[in-house]
């Protein structure tokens, strides 16, 4: 399968990208790792006139800690994230997420920024990044702005990104108190995409009580879904099996999952509770 013909630009700076975006408008698409875009182009589901390859722009990849923030460049690959000692130590739930995206070869090419900007409802990273309360650095010729994950994912394949903006980095806050992170995923047996997944970020006080919980579901709608009922049920509680089970039972409150050829709505609702429980248990079990 061959994509339809297109023009190709490989700018060396963000300034050049902004110029190209102005020039081509909606006929252009940004190319990062290409692992969402190129498959769609091969099936001719999308036929952009121009691809703007971000791969030659320096400074868009890498992982660094800046005070209480972890900054990950948009072009950092999933393999780099999952292998990063920094990520493994600080946010093991993120490393785990990156390590179950697609497959080994996909992780070697696919990028954090590409996955986030594509906003596939079956993707893993949006779920975990929402649980981690990440925010996204959106850069344009006019400057930049950051948008919190809670506000960034708008609908199926739709984000707060404006056509003239580029996602350049992901900022993840590192709370002072110990925070335990995890990710649990039910993959589709064919595609490996999320059927249902859950990410948890639990902040604990010295006594082991949960002082802040973010529990987010994937696969149950157009965007990552904050399981607020579950979060509320965990807050202020010691994470006993009973507390976790009761909290997880509330995960499906208010969700409206879509049936697909593999799983129906009822199954997804039930799995939301099961995977929320598994994610919370895994987070609670982290030392």
């Amino acid at each position: 399968m061959h994509p339809a013909s297109f023009g190709y630009e490989a700018p060396a700076s963000l300034e050049e990208v902004f110029g190209l975006l102005r020039q081509h408008g909606e006929d252009a698409k940004l190319l990062a790792g290409g692992h969402s875009l190129l498959p769609a182009m091969k099936l001719r589901l999308t036929q952009p006139e121009v691809l703007i390859d971000l791969g030659r722009i320096p400074g868009l990849s890498g992982i660094r800690q800046d005070g209480d923030t972890l900054i990950i460049g948009a072009l950092t690959t999933h393999t780099e994230v999952s292998a990063s000692e920094t990520v493994r130590n600080l946010l093991p739930g993120l490393a785990d997420t990156a390590s179950v995206i697609g497959d080994l070869q996909v992780r070697n090419r696919g990028t954090m920024g590409g996955s986030v900007a594509h906003a596939d409802p079956g993707a893993d990273l949006p779920v975990t990044l929402t649980a981690l309360n990440a925010s996204f650095m959106l850069t344009s010729a006019e400057g930049g702005r950051t948008v919190a994950a809670d506000d960034f994912f708008v609908d199926f394949f739709t984000t707060a990104l404006e056509p003239h903006e580029i996602l350049t980095a992901i900022h993840i806050p590192l709370p002072a108190a110990p925070t335990r992170t995890s990710y649990a995923k039910l993959p589709h047996p064919a595609s490996g995409y999320v059927v249902v997944s859950a990410a948890a970020a639990l902040t604990l006080d010295g006594s082991g009580a949960c002082t802040g919980a973010r529990v987010v579901l994937g696969g149950v709608g157009g965007t990552p879904h904050r399981a607020t009922g579950t979060e509320t049920a965990l807050n202020g509680q010691a994470l006993t099996p009973e507390v976790i089970a009761a909290a997880a039972e509330r995960a499906a409150d208010g969700i409206d999952p879509h049936a697909d050829s593999y799983a129906d709505e009822e199954y997804k609702r039930h799995m939301a509770a099961v995977y929320a429980r598994r994610a919370i248990e895994a987070a609670a079990a982290r030392a």
């Binding site: 013909s5 297109f6 190129l38 390859d53 697609g102 080994l104």
Partner: protein, 158 residues
């Protein structure tokens, strides 16, 4: 609509090539059609099967999901470049020894993924091997002897 060709300079299996290609040309087609390296196979159209796996700057990638123009400046190794002259790479040798191939169509991709795995995780156990093969489909072997072959190769002194 026709779009101008773009220059591509790559080193494939140690040989450098300077040429121009259509932007839409996929790396796998560049290797197969332009360079005649037909050992890299196309087994699907949704980036699932892994038959097209090559090493791009040392990393295993699916060459059906990379544009040739994206590979400009890169070092590429294909199945044709894995052996050291007449001496098979330990993964290739282990595939023969453990009967890790039947029809051979998935084999180049399997071998390239396995070789990359053992570069990055020489201590891979069966579970790690199976996880690494999630992106490589085989329909003949039931994977049993493929996993065995990679385990055997992992135990070879290198």
């Amino acid at each position: 609509m026709e779009h101008p060709a773009r220059p591509v300079n790559v080193t494939v299996n140690g040989t450098s090539h300077a040429t121009e290609v259509e932007p839409r040309l996929l790396l796998v087609h560049f290797l197969r059609e332009n360079l005649g390296l037909t050992g890299t196979h196309v087994g699907c159209d949704t980036s699932q099967c892994g038959a097209c796996t090559v090493h791009l700057n040392g990393a295993a990638v699916k060459s059906c999901t990379v544009l040739a123009v994206q590979a400009d400046g890169a070092e590429i190794t294909t199945i044709e470049g894995l052996a050291d002259g007449a001496t098979l790479h330990p993964v290739q040798a282990a595939f023969q020894e453990e009967h890790g191939l039947q029809c051979g169509f998935c084999t180049p991709g399997m071998v390239m993924t396995a070789a990359y795995l053992l570069e990055t995780r020489p201590d891979a156990d069966d579970e790690a091997i199976k996880h690494a093969l999630e992106g490589n489909l085989c329909r003949c072997t039931g994977y049993v002897n493929i996993v065995k072959a990679i385990r055997t190769a992992a135990q070879q002194p290198r």
